[in-house]
């Protein structure tokens, strides 16, 4: 066999394939960055007329800022309600799966929680508007009656239950799986040695969790909550279907308020001209808000990964 290093028959073939393939995969990666940039760019370009238009032409007649800020507040209110409900329950359910449930049950439970995430948002919205809203009416009436002196519970309570509080509850159900799944993943990564050290000192299960699991998982819980916040801010259908929207109000028990995402979904199909541009501008605002929230969440995760050495 008289072959030389520079000319061995077989393997020489396909050398071009290497550069084509690596070029293709690099191109795909760059394309993703380009798409993200394009999202921002196209939204901005289409939104531009709104920023240039005279204030009285924008919906509400007082310029874009006056139009958007009640929506931003409404979005934040809905998201905060959702977080306030979903964070404790989500973390506790994650604890249930990782440290309380017997191994035989933990797996199916985790699966059921994943199913919760798989149900399409429109179905949650439909359920929220037909089942949940009406069943919450008595509770709202009671709250307004007994706690009406607190502004957020001031009456008269909505008779349909289609309020921002209901929307927040539906959002909470939708973001619960995010918090649970991520927290659970981090809870089970707690070093067994630490847990056993705590138990060997005579700690009860809760003391062990408080001493080892929670400090270890704190950054993970925070970032999971941030990701859930991002989702809650941008979720459309639950709010569009559930909320009977209106101007900004402090009471959570009355109809009123609106979120950016729902405003777009409800008005876009019939919009044209400047209204179209307005809604895209609203979308741009939503995009920027969620972008910031998500980047903070990711930054926490990244920093935390460097510390824990887990990859």
């Amino acid at each position: 066999m008289s072959t030389t290093v520079t000319t061995k028959k077989s393997a020489a073939g396909g050398k071009a394939g290497d550069s084509v393939f690596s070029g293709l995969s690099l191109g795909a990666g760059v394309l993703i960055l380009a798409v993200l940039a394009a999202v921002a760019l196209f939204l901005f370009m289409q939104a531009l007329p709104t920023f240039q238009a005279p204030a009285e032409d924008v919906s509400g007649g007082e310029g874009f800022f006056a139009y958007i800020w009640p929506l931003v507040i409404g979005t934040v209110i809905a998201a905060v309600i959702a977080l306030a409900i979903a964070t404790p329950i989500g973390v506790l359910v994650a604890l249930y799966i990782s440290h309380y449930a017997p191994a035989r049950i933990a797996k199916p439970v985790a699966y059921v929680i994943d199913l919760l995430a798989a149900i399409p948002s429109v179905i949650y919205g439909a359920w929220g508007t037909t089942v949940l809203a009406s069943s919450l009416v008595p509770l709202y009436g009671w709250l307004a009656e007994n706690f009406g002196f607190i502004p957020i519970f001031s009456g008269p309570a909505s008779q349909t239950g289609k309020t921002i509080l209901t929307a927040g509850v539906v959002l909470a159900i939708m973001i619960l799986p995010i918090i649970t799944a991520m927290s659970r993943e981090i809870f089970v990564q707690t070093p067994k040695l630490h847990e056993e050290a705590a138990l060997a000192l005579g700690a009860t299960r809760w003391e062990m969790i408080r001493m080892t699991v929670l400090p270890f998982a704190r950054p993970g819980i925070i970032s999971s909550v941030m990701l859930a916040l991002g989702r809650a801010l941008g979720e459309t259908m639950a709010v569009a279907l559930v909320l009977s929207s209106g101007p900004l109000t402090a009471s959570l028990l009355q109809s009123g308020n609106q979120t950016i995402a729902a405003e777009i979904a409800l008005n876009f199909p019939e919009a044209y001209g400047l209204r179209l541009s307005e809604l895209i501008a609203a979308g741009l605002v939503l995009f920027l808000i969620t972008l910031v929230v998500n980047m903070i969440a990711r930054a926490i995760i990244t920093r935390y990964k460097e510390f824990s050495g887990a990859n």
Partner: protein, 377 residues
């Protein structure tokens, strides 16, 4: 210490003689179940005072139990055990709270959807179905006419195009991240922004596609492919993340074995790495499809709304199952008799849930059944 002794004396009558140091201060086995039963009974009574219903009964019982049981445990076993039991009961309560809506949603969809699930729904569109048709149906003169066939067609076409666009891009990006970039700055940037992309609100993805095609073809351009582009934006990050995970767990030894045989890198990737990871990749893609198939918001702003069957994703408005459900609920075909519309909506929701659950199941089965047999070590 003295308080412990005192409590010990009061809680265990001295009839049984001295108890072992190891078992003293233990609550009797009947304590917590008894409190549970008592909580249910008292809860029923309290609920009856206000106006009895099952939800109220459950809430009252739970609250009473959550207060009484830890207090009782604290009294018998001390503060630390009391706190431990409180958290334990809270954890279980949270779990029940999380499952209740799931059960309620599934029950609602089944109860409302099953009556409407018939051949009419599956095989006819809404073409020609008007308020008058529904009024007749509501009056009992005809069965509920009209169906979701056009929406199923739309869902299938749009999801097909979205998959066709996002799988190659997502797969190649994951390959770049795992096989080529190896921690370079570009790779880190792509990883970061793919993570950020996961959090893009779906409505924003829809607006992006609408804005993009609006610039190309004029404002309010709406057809199936625009929606597919929107869904692609949502699908890519899922495909990338899943594929990346799967490629990472392919042992490096297999790559080295191929390189040592004088196999080129791209052939190693195509013929060794990807076949080894294919089941995981396939199940990841299936999960990504399951995620976007239920998307509603981006379709509202990109695909328009149609009542007739349209197989062509490149021209004309399209309806998908989620938008069908949405419009049937929000704008019933007959405003005076919304029941036929609601029936169609719930039946369509049932179909959608079945599709999503099937996709999830398939993903799990694929991942399990075709997992590569690892070397016997």
């Amino acid at each position: 210490m003295s308080t412990t002794l005192l409590r010990n004396q009061t809680s265990t009558p001295p009839t049984g003689g001295r108890r072992s140091r190891l078992t003293r201060n233990q609550r009797p086995a009947w304590l917590v179940p008894t409190i549970g039963i008592a909580a249910v009974v008292v809860g029923a009574a309290a609920a009856a005072l206000v106006g009895f219903n099952v939800a109220l009964w459950a809430v009252f019982s739970a609250v009473i139990f959550l207060v009484a049981a830890p207090v009782a445990v604290t009294a018998v076993e001390g503060r630390r055990k009391g706190a431990d039991s409180l958290v334990t009961y809270l954890v279980y309560t949270a779990f029940i709270l999380a499952v209740v809506p799931l059960v309620s949603v599934i029950w609602t969809v089944l109860a409302n959807g099953l009556p409407g699930l018939n051949s009419n729904l599956l095989l006819t569109s809404m073409n020609g179905v008007t308020g008058a048709t529904d009024n007749a149906a509501a009056a009992g003169e005809t069965p509920v006419l009209g169906g979701a066939y056009h929406a199923i067609v739309g869902t299938v076409s749009i999801t097909f195009w979205a998959t066709l666009l996002s799988v190659p891009i997502g797969l190649l990006t994951a390959i770049y991240l795992v096989e080529y970039s190896r921690g370079g700055w570009l790779g880190r940037a792509i990883t970061f922004f793919v993570d950020v992309m996961t959090g893009i609100p779906s409505i924003v993805a829809g607006l992006f596609a609408a804005a993009l095609f609006g610039l190309l073809f004029g404002p309010s351009t709406r057809f199936g492919f625009v929606a597919a582009v929107a869904l692609t934006v949502l699908m890519i990050p899922t495909v990338v993340k899943n594929t990346e995970e799967m490629l990472k767990i392919v042992p490096n030894e297999l790559r080295e074995a191929a390189y040592a045989l004088g196999v080129r890198k791209w052939r190693t990737i195509v013929k060794v790495v990807i076949p080894t990871a294919i089941s995981g990749i396939a199940s990841g893609v299936t999960l990504a499809i399951a995620r976007v198939i239920g998307e509603t918001a981006p379709l509202l702003v990109t695909a328009g709304f149609a009542t007739a069957i349209n197989w062509n994703s490149f021209s004309g408005w399209m309806t998908t199952l989620p938008t069908f459900i949405y419009y049937q609920i929000m704008t019933p075909t007959s405003p005076t008799n919304p029941d036929p519309s609601a029936q169609r909506a719930w039946a369509a929701a049932l179909i959608l849930i079945i599709i999503v659950m099937l996709l999830n199941l398939v993903a799990r089965l694929v991942a399990k059944a075709f997992a590569p047999k690892t070397a016997g070590r």
